[in-house]
Symmetry: C2
Subunit: 286 residues, 2 copies
């Protein structure tokens, strides 16, 4: 496995593989790899000839008030996890390598970034789109892998790729959960054991929503109000949002008459967790 | 010469040339080709193995009040000009092919788009950056050719390419002028013979500025005020702007103590013309 921290070197390492017709896969991460990331890497290894994992905690997607400085950076453990999965190349640049001067070029996906995390974290998706475009231009992957846990991010990036004709396929991968249902996240390690227990309320709320939906409930307001207490029941849980939005533009909908996303963000103490499920009335067994 | 109006087909036509290691060059145009464009195509032919010319009048870079509908579209003459220069591929998509649905993804270069044409034409450079990124993703050129006549556009695109790590080299090419000094532009054909004559005032003003600068004048205000009457002298000429800006971020400067751009935009009747020169105090014979 090669580790490269340099853009030019990275291009040169990948170039012969591309020239010889190999399929290049990219798993973009901020490191602190967990089973969710590892599943993306396994998908990539299965489908591509050459697997690149990028590890970069991107400053431009954090607001000044957020956890950029404290975000976990267990880089040696990350390398070792990648090595075990036979990753071909880890691209782990410094902030200075990625942003050598002032960055004044931004990519924005309107509408899709308005609600959910876009509303709670102004500028977040602008930072995400911009860094993902940079990574796409550096690695030039044929396929890039993103987890459905970050559903809005996936929708935003898919739309960016379509609107800007990026020559990249976006492969969505299912959320990986702990045995007790907590969605895997690098931020889970912030939780105390007691908070960890309370964090289960996100998954429980989604399960309850799923049951209501399966029983025929299509009123967003009713579903949201019925699952809200499941979260509010926990002393350290503070709801950032519970929303039902359409799958295409992530706009709130009142009646679930097309594929929708139930997304929620909850602070457990200082730690902000997100999770979601798809509610699809066009599927038989949703 | 192949003419393609379809994105997927265009990718497939170019792909084998890229795979076999040929250098791909792109000359992005809005058609109505004149000697300025043709000189870009000649540069491209000289430096690249495979020359692509795109012809697309991009709606998103025109304001509603502007000349999108009336912009000249002499497509057969354009094809024939490209054929004569042995262009390999003309990519001439429809608006529907380039914008099949609502475009909600935009690329913006801050600061650089604030002044000059960015101020007179709000949203213009956002449209330019977005379409150029789309063309870069479709054609995937090694080198792309832009004229210095559109100096701010060149600066904006160069910065976009640098900030977003596009794997493309931007090649600036000198402004081509009519024998009497008028900078070539597709919009020149809007001018009546009388207006055509008055249009010479842009070049005359720049020449006078150049003389003042060569004589040691470094005060932007003095230069601007001395050339203003050259334009105002013409009954149908209305100044949009005359500005001296730094070469890097296109911000107005009061003293020319680093490479600068003297740029002007003038309406002759209904027709908006632009022109510019570089004033470089670091050069011996500027």
């Amino acid at each position: 496995m090669i580790i490269s921290t340099n853009i030019q070197q990275t291009r040169e390492i990948i170039s012969p593989y591309r020239s010889s017709g190999k399929t290049i896969g990219l798993v973009p991460t901020m490191g602190a790899l967990h089973e969710g990331h590892l599943s993306l890497i396994r998908w990539c290894r299965r489908e591509c000839d050459y697997t690149v994992v990028s590890i970069f905690v991107n400053p431009t997607q954090f607001a000044p008030s957020e956890d950029f400085a404290s975000y976990p950076r267990p880089i040696e453990a990350d390398y070792s996890a990648c090595r075990q999965l036979n990753v071909d190349l880890v691209f782990a640049p410094t902030a200075k390598e990625m942003y050598p001067g002032e960055n004044i070029t931004w990519i924005e996906v309107e509408k899709l970034s308005e609600h959910l995390c876009g509303a709670s974290r102004p500028g977040h998706f602008r930072g995400v789109c911009t860094i993902v475009a940079k990574l796409f231009h550096i690695i030039q992957p044929d396929i890039a892998y993103f987890g459905q846990k970050d559903a809005q991010q996936l929708a935003v990036i898919s739309r960016m790729v379509a609107d800007l004709n990026f020559p990249v396929q976006i492969r969505p991968c299912p959320t990986v959960r702990e045995p007790d249902g907590l969605a895997m996240s690098s931020r889970n390690r912030y939780l105390t054991p007691k908070q960890r227990q309370q964090g289960l309320c996100l998954g429980q709320a989604l399960q309850q929503a799923s049951r209501l939906f399966a029983a025929g409930q299509r009123d967003s307001h009713v579903i949201i109000e019925q699952i809200r207490p499941i979260i509010e029941n926990h002393p350290e849980a503070q709801i950032d949002y519970i929303s039902i939005v359409d799958n295409e533009l992530c706009q709130p909908i009142t009646v679930i008459d097309r594929p929708a996303l139930l997304a929620l963000a909850v602070r457990i103490g200082q730690t902000r967790l997100i999770d979601n499920i798809v509610l699809d009335p066009t599927e038989q067994n949703s």
